[in-house]
Amino acid sequence: MRVVVQDAPFDFGAEAAAFADGRVVSGAVVTFTGIVRDVDGGLQAMEIEHYPGMTEAALTDIATQAVERWSLEDALVIHRHGRLNIGEMIMMVATASRHRKDAFEAAEFLMDYLKSRAPFWKRELTADGAAWVAAREEDEDALTRW
């Protein structure tokens, strides 16, 4: 299991390949990556603040829960902070398990939990200024299914 918090970009292809490489027990690897997008038009960049120390602890806790619950062979979480431009990758998760259902479910669990339980705060920068992204109720509701 690996948890990485960094401001630098990561190489999604290399990370995914390294994660999948040499698996013997796991027949399934699922990856997900989140990208800065400009839904309404006018976004210039995204800034992500985090809580150094707690961030790593929270992500490790969430990943450990996923590994235990779905008996994963391995899990990877990479999450960036700092200033990101449109199209840049914000984060990725990868899960490896014997069967695809577990790998998919565990990846969704990781995503749902790190959206609302890992101490990151997004701020959108537009021509009109900067605005903190409000947490969405459906993101909180998504946790109840687990």
């Binding site: 120390g53 959206k115 609302s116 101490p119 990151f120 701020r123 947490a135």
Partner: protein, 81 residues
């Protein structure tokens, strides 16, 4: 103890962290104490339903006790992923 603020809570209070000498028994007592100190705290803590709190880097509730605690952090609901 160290008190940390993140995102718009940090912006409203104007600093990212500070050392606070307090006898507050719970997080809520600390919130009341800070809010009584200066307007910027009262503004930031006006609606605690819009806030989350971590004690020694663990998410908790506003009724959490503060005995032996080294670090308390206040912030809005998280928006990771």
């Amino acid at each position: 103890m160290d008190v940390l603020y993140f995102a718009w809570v940090r912006e409203r209070i104007g600093i990212p962290r500070e050392a606070v000498e307090t006898d507050a028994g719970t997080v809520m007592d600390l919130v009341k104490e800070l809010s009584g100190k200066e307007e910027r705290y009262a503004t930031a803590f006006a609606d605690i339903s819009a806030l989350r709190v971590a004690v020694d880097q663990q998410l908790t509730d506003f009724d959490a006790p503060l005995a032996g605690v080294r670090e308390v952090a206040f912030f809005p609901p998280m928006t990771g992923g």
